[in-house]
Symmetry: none
């Protein structure tokens, strides 16, 4: 559940789709999450395992079913850290970029 795990987990469109689905309705079973997706249940299982490892979802066994719950904290943490990090230099970066482009323009 390192920062790297979270970034890599989010770096795949299928996994973001799964998060979207859980966001739409939390606590879905594996089978429910598979419905309508263009891959096998086993592929989905692997994706969910990666998301779980990144602490982006939590899992609860209920009888023979496995319920999946989204955990927004890691996303929030990372998003905030990166917004914070890059907004601090925001204007400076933009003006440097603009200056560079202008110089390019004038030649």
């Amino acid at each position: 559940m390192s920062e790297d795990d979270v970034f890599r987990a989010l770096g795949d469109a299928s996994r973001r789709t799964l998060l979207d689905r859980l966001h739409h309705r939390n606590g879905q079973t594996l089978n429910e999450l598979c419905a309508g997706l263009d891959m096998t249940r086993q592929a989905v299982t692997k994706h969910l395992s990666i998301l779980e490892h990144a602490n982006l979802i939590a899992v609860q066994r209920q009888g023979r079913e496995k319920l999946h719950f989204i955990n927004p904290v890691p996303i929030n943490d990372i998003a905030e850290r990166w917004i914070e990090k890059f907004q601090r230099g925001h204007l400076r970066a933009l003006s440097a970029l603009r200056k560079a482009l202008e110089e390019d323009d004038h030649e």
Copy 2:
């Protein structure tokens, strides 16, 4: 420069390191960005190309050198969209409050 491109670009630790370096000092040349990294210049070139494709950096040629400038906009966009999506209101309010208190503390 799709959302997917940005997520995938951020999904690699080496590329995040490069962004960190540019954040620390913007407008660095390829050679400068390579210094001290445990990979060849060509590998760095590939990473930078991916970052550029994701619109996370902009490039300007200056003589025989290539200058790299960070572009914080896609990161902000995505981070905000995902924060908004995953904790509409709640955690956002908390962090805003926390930030306000910290600023209050420091002044």
